[in-house]
């Protein structure tokens, strides 16, 4: 284990398989740890739940975006065609609402999509190219074939030695301390 005069971010355990990670995560949470993070090369069902993560707000944001886009789109057309400069276009009514539907729909989709993506990024606090976990020597494999569990130092129950031992006890492949210089 590397000795460093810099403050510690947390302790990280590496596992071989997704099953092990889920199991370990469950145990960790059960052991009363709260500031826990799991890292995997692909989404694993139940992992987030195991971390006690329930509800993502992305759907709500998307709905909001859709509503804004849609209503904005329609009223833009209505205002331009019927209020701002009403003109006789081939005898069609000023508020030709059926003709305004396609644009309204596109605006809805656009608004929703933008909110969904930007919302997801924002909630995930991305972009965040620099993060302490990247200091973990083998963390590069988190985007390949390895699974990591990290207990963060600001957890009330965190203790460099005990936490590390606790993780060892979960049959981790190995356990490292992650520093945040």
């Amino acid at each position: 284990m590397i000795e460093r005069r810099s403050h510690i971010y947390g302790v990280m355990a590496e596992f071989d398989t997704a099953e092990q990670l889920v199991e370990a995560t469950a145990k960790t949470v059960a052991a009363g740890y709260q500031r826990v993070n799991a890292y995997s090369p692909f989404p694993i069902e139940g992992l987030a739940e195991a971390l006690g993560f329930r509800q993502s707000n992305v759907p709500r944001l998307t709905l909001l975006g859709g509503l804004l886009g849609g209503s904005g789109g329609f009223f833009m057309q209505y205002w331009m065609a019927a209020v701002s400069y009403p003109l006789n276009i081939g005898g069609r009514p000023l508020n030709s609402w059926p003709a305004f539907i396609p644009v309204t729909f596109e605006c809805t989709v656009l608004g929703a999509a933008l909110f969904a993506v930007l919302g997801m990024l924002a909630l995930n606090k991305l972009p965040q190219p620099h993060h302490p976990v990247f200091n973990a020597p083998r963390f590069g494999l988190a985007s390949n074939n390895r699974f990591f569990l990290c207990i963060v130092a600001n957890d009330p129950r965190f203790d460099r030695v005990q936490t590390a031992q606790f993780l060892e006890s979960l049959h981790a492949h190995d356990v490292v301390e992650v520093f945040d210089e």
Binding site: A99, M120, S143
Partner: protein, 458 residues
């Protein structure tokens, strides 16, 4: 962890992933195409060709702007020619990508996994090619911004009853959403490339694009709901886009355009041509980069089946057009139907029937569906056929409409061809760059697939 031998060798249905793969192996195989494998002379040759065509496109456009749309074959009555034909064709091709990645995702079709990435890329590039045409076909492209709803000093606004304005919104939305969808899908793989890249530069480039993705469980959770939502949005979007494109014609009163069957049959046609194009690209791709394990016969066969299905819908569309033209009893529609079959452009119409209706019926046979070279040829035929369909709709309908005194003919000029072939080059060039720069198959999703298959086999 997996045991291929357990599966009988004489199975009829190919798997979506050939057995024997691990997380590491898929990661290695796919990322190496980008990171370690050098671009062969083949790639360079192809790219040179493509780039040459792009240059030709550049010249064609410059000359167009210098002189005006008169360099094309268009005239009165045929005010729209190749530009719109190509626009609709490209947009149609784009649709397969979205369909594969979005709709098949919602339908939870595993076989989409290994083809959705480059299918989406194809969508984006196709839409880029398509987007060029509506812009340049205008007489004064430099004023195209009149079509945007911006507060001008003239106090006038776009005319929202015009399908062309719907196009502007539909196509731009479609492009944006496809781009987002594609990019979101790429994030985890960008992270992989970041972590596996050796050169500092590559690390930084992929790093920036990956936005610091680290596969955190919470991130994955939000990521997945966002991705699903995008799929949910893209699905109606893709349908709406070609519906709107079909409105360009259906809203007009021109005989042969003014018909209610257009939206469904345009969408079907789009998917038809789109899948044809995916095959046209996938077949060489899997060969060249040895991806037969990931893009298996199962994929090819499924796509063939989709083509057959959509092809039949299109056939129904043609049939209905004729039925309505006679049943409706409008002398203009009746004449048009007749003019298609026997008018001066009859070879185009019959070629279209051959390419889109007759030849694809071969797909009923399993032997054909699994015979790769035939499949490749078929996909090409359908691509041609769908281009012809748009030509028939645009030109044959316009060249003889209501006033016999104004009837005329349309013949493309050198510049029509240069522009069209130029966009083909552009499409190819973008695709070649994409293959070199980004994983052609979604690595993260392949890992999932590995996980699932291994589970299945436990």
């Amino acid at each position: 962890m997996s045991s291929a031998n357990s599966v009988p060798p004489f199975r009829r249905v190919a798997p979506v992933l050939e057995p024997g793969h691990t997380y590491a192996s898929v990661t290695e195989k796919i990322s190496s195409i980008v990171l370690s494998r050098p671009a062969g002379t083949g790639w360079y040759l192809a790219f040179t060709l493509a780039f040459g065509l792009v240059m030709m496109l550049g010249m064609a456009l410059a000359y167009l702007i210098a002189k005006g749309t008169g360099i094309w074959g268009i005239n009165i009555p045929v005010g729209w020619g190749f530009a719109i034909v190509n626009f609709v064709w490209w947009i149609g091709i784009g649709h397969a990508g979205t369909l594969i990645s979005a709709i098949l995702l919602l339908l939870n079709q595993k076989w989409r996994t290994s083809i959705n990435r480059f299918a989406e890329a194809m969508t984006i590039f196709a839409v880029m090619c398509a987007g060029i045409f509506p812009l340049i076909h205008t007489g004064r492209p430099w004023l195209a911004y009149y079509m945007l709803p911006y507060p001008s000093t003239m106090g006038v606004w776009p005319q929202f009853r015009s399908p062309l304005i719907w196009d502007v919104f539909a196509v731009s939305t479609y492009f944006t959403v496809s781009l987002l969808f594609w990019f979101v899908g790429l994030i985890p793989d960008l992270a992989t490339l970041r972590d596996r890249a050796h050169s500092r530069l590559a690390q930084q480039l992929y790093g920036i694009l990956a936005m610091g993705w680290r596969g955190s469980a919470r991130h994955w959770h939000r990521y997945q709901s966002a991705y699903l939502l995008l799929a949910g949005l893209a699905t109606p979007l893709v349908v709406s886009v070609h519906t709107v494109v079909s409105f360009d014609f259906a809203i007009a009163i021109v005989p042969g355009w003014h018909t209610t069957i257009f939206p469904p049959y345009f969408v079907a046609g789009a998917i038809y041509s789109g899948f044809a194009m995916v095959l046209t690209l996938a077949i060489p791709l899997r060969k060249i980069y040895g991806l037969e394990d990931f893009i298996t016969m199962r994929h090819l066969e499924n796509m063939a089946k989709v083509m057959l299905a959509t092809g039949l819908i299109v056939a129904y569309g043609y049939a209905m057009e004729f039925f309505m033209s006679y049943y409706g009893g409008s002398k203009f529609e009746t004449f048009l139907a007749h003019n298609r079959l026997t008018g001066p452009y009859w070879p185009f119409y019959w070629a279209l029937i051959l390419c889109n209706l007759v030849v694809p019926q071969l797909l009923w046979f399993h032997k054909v569906r699994v015979h790769v070279p035939t499949l490749f040829l078929l996909s090409l035929v359908v691509n041609v056929g769908m281009w012809l369909e748009r030509f028939v709709i645009v030109v044959i309908s316009l060249h003889r409409d209501f006033m016999p005194s104004a009837w005329g003919m349309y013949a493309p000029t050198f510049w029509d061809w240069a522009t069209y072939i130029g966009t083909l080059g552009m499409f190819l060039a973008l695709l070649l760059l994409f293959v070199r720069a980004l994983p052609v198959i979604s690595i993260a999703e392949m890992r999932e697939l590995v996980a699932h298959t291994s589970e299945e086999q436990k």
